[in-house]
């Protein structure tokens, strides 16, 4: 008890004091640990190959961080609601979305903005299906999203007959390749989404309710939290963001390519877990997910810079995922 026993005046106390308390809290938190790990990784990679810090390489890292980071935010929203919620379809949705936006613009001559809106509606619709399947039909999300993993990838190949769709308009490419003051546009999109997610997660009632549902769904029902609605919304959000990433990737590659995004769902899950999200739900950090995504991106970039073959990259990232989840499970078991 003891140290928790402070009266409310302190809760509402002077701002400077609050800030100090905030910093002390942050240093002791998982978020701080993950930030330290990221910085160590960056320093190590930079020492091994100073080219890491070249502007060009940092921009490449930024673009890839945006891709993994946006997916990790979506995945975090899904995982936190618990009950076995997970989205295994994000990589395939990335591919389908990129192919569809290219198809709409190039083959059907639909204006760019309209094409983007259409694609985001379609991927959100897929999310709605995943959400309703979990909440109304009691189908485990693992099953429905695994189904979409196969179906969306297959659909992307069927639509394109396996070939990329090229000749995308220049204004569209800006979304993936553009720079504003040396900052890649995808990074700006990532930071915008992160800001909205942080607002949603920490400043509105929804973040608190998501964690409540993930931690104790029966109790959440008893206190009148709209469990069905909120669980469904998280899948819509996740697959909306998957659609957005597909658009960014298509713009970056200048093509709608059915083979992109393979295993991205795993990277998103790994980023989320490395960042402190419990696979069992209830506990999550948006900041942690972004840092987790950055760690995965830096590892990926380091392997490229150090000239290690692509096959080893999969093995390395797979190992990181298993190690991160194992540590997470052990840590939680110890705390329980």
């Amino acid at each position: 008890m003891g140290k928790n026993t402070i009266i409310v005046e302190e809760n509402v106390g002077a701002k400077s004091r609050k800030t100090t308390v905030g910093i002390t809290k942050f240093v002791g938190s998982g978020d701080f640990g993950i930030l330290t790990a990221l910085i160590a990784l960056i320093v190590f990679t930079g020492l091994m190959n100073p080219r890491f810090f070249s502007i060009y390489n940092l921009q490449t890292v930024g673009q890839q961080w945006a891709v993994f980071g946006i997916l990790a935010v979506g995945e975090t929203f899904v995982i936190v609601i618990g009950g076995g919620a997970i989205d295994l379809s994000l990589g395939s949705i990335t591919a389908l979305s990129g192919v569809l936006v290219a198809l709409f613009m190039v083959n059907y001559h639909i204006p760019m903005i309209l094409s983007i809106i259409l694609v985001l509606l379609i991927t959100s619709g897929i999310g709605l299906w995943h959400g309703l399947a979990m909440t109304k039909l009691d189908i485990p999300p693992f099953v429905t999203t695994l189904g979409t993993l196969a179906i969306a990838r297959g659909a992307a190949s069927v639509i394109t007959h396996g070939w990329p769709i090229i000749n995308l308009p220049n204004s569209f490419l800006f979304l993936g390749q553009g720079m504003i003051l040396g900052m890649p546009v995808p990074v700006i999109l990532l930071l915008t989404i992160a800001a909205v997610a942080v607002f949603f997660f920490y400043y509105t009632k929804y973040g608190s309710y998501f964690r409540a549902i993930g931690e104790n769904v029966k109790a959440a029902e008893k206190v009148g939290i709209a469990v069905v609605k909120l669980r469904t919304i998280t899948f819509v959000l996740s697959d909306f963001l998957g659609g957005l990433v597909g658009i960014i990737v298509a713009a970056r590659l200048s093509q709608g390519q059915p083979a992109v995004g393979t295993m991205y769902e795993l990277y998103a899950i790994a980023a989320s877990v490395i960042g402190g999200t419990a696979l069992t739900g209830g506990v999550a950090s948006i900041f942690g997910a972004l840092m987790g995504a950055a760690i995965i991106t830096v590892i990926w970039n380091a392997l490229v810079l150090l000239g290690i073959s692509a096959f080893w990259q999969d093995i390395a990232l797979g190992t990181v995922i298993v190690v991160a989840v194992t540590f997470d499970v052990l840590r939680r078991r110890k705390n329980a």
Binding site: V12, A219, V223
Partner: protein, 253 residues
């Protein structure tokens, strides 16, 4: 005729497949009355509570408040009618803070759904100060760091957050120390003095007997007795529960 009861349950039946958890249960609750709802494990007490709270819908039967039929379709509706409950397993969220737990399902929000944390923290603190009297933990402490008694008080603070007319306590003392149990007893009496009615569920019949004005006894989903404490004895209540009403006396229903 004006009813003496402000809250009434009429012919409540709840089936889970073949299981009849509540079988045609009717009763009324007076203002500022403590009613002990007792019965063996699986008698149907919690099921009845869940229907009063709108967590479950009755298969058959209705509820009346001030003589008017009410559709309690969700816990939010129950709360707005002045009915709230503290559940057997407390229904808390261990890794959420005290204030998040107290306002779970009923956060105060401004435009864009922005949580009014400052006001909620003050209100949560106020409620806890009244309940806990002595040491009040910081309201942003995770509930998992609290003792059993403190958790109980957080759950009660949540139930008392809104103007409550009928408070249901489902086995509020099963996990508590003797001192903490006494505290709950004092609290229940104090609430009654404020005009709040209480349905008190418990397995320790002696403890319940000291607290309540009336007993409603369930057995295998059926109401087998509804009796004023002054017309019965501890021994009789225990005998009724154990025998499942087999020793029934005609005046009990």
């Amino acid at each position: 005729m004006e009813s003496e009861y402000f809250f009434e349950a009429s012919h409540i039946t709840k089936k889970f497949g073949a299981v009849v958890a509540n079988d045609d249960i009717s009763f009324g609750i007076r203002k500022a009355e403590i009613v002990g709802l007792v019965g063996d494990n699986g008698a149907g007490k919690t099921t009845l509570v869940k229907q009063i709270m709108g967590v479950e819908r009755p298969t058959k039967g209705d509820f009346y408040l001030d003589g008017k039929k009410v559709e309690i379709s969700s816990p939010t509706v129950a709360k707005s009618l002045g009915i709230n409950a503290v559940y057997q397993e407390l229904a808390l969220f261990p890794s959420l803070s005290i204030v998040e737990n107290i306002f779970a399902g009923s956060q105060l929000t401004g435009p864009l759904g922005i949580s009014k944390w400052k006001i909620m923290k003050e209100k949560a603190y106020e409620k806890l100060r009244v309940l806990m009297k002595d040491e009040v933990p910081r309201v942003d402490t995770p509930v998992k760091e609290l003792s059993g008694g403190q958790r109980q008080e957080v759950a009660i603070a949540r139930a008392l957050l809104f103007n409550v007319r009928l408070l249901i306590l489902d086995e509020p003392t099963s996990a508590l120390s003797v001192r903490e149990r006494e505290k709950i007893g004092e609290l229940v009496t104090a609430l009654k003095d404020q005009g709040i009615s209480i349905i008190y569920i418990g397995h320790n019949i002696e403890e319940v007997f000291n607290l309540v004005d009336r007993f409603i006894i369930l057995s295998r989903g059926k109401k087998i007795a509804d009796i004023e404490k002054k017309n019965t004895s501890l021994e009789e209540v225990v005998a009724l529960i154990v025998s499942g009403g087999a020793i029934g006396r005609s005046h009990l229903k």
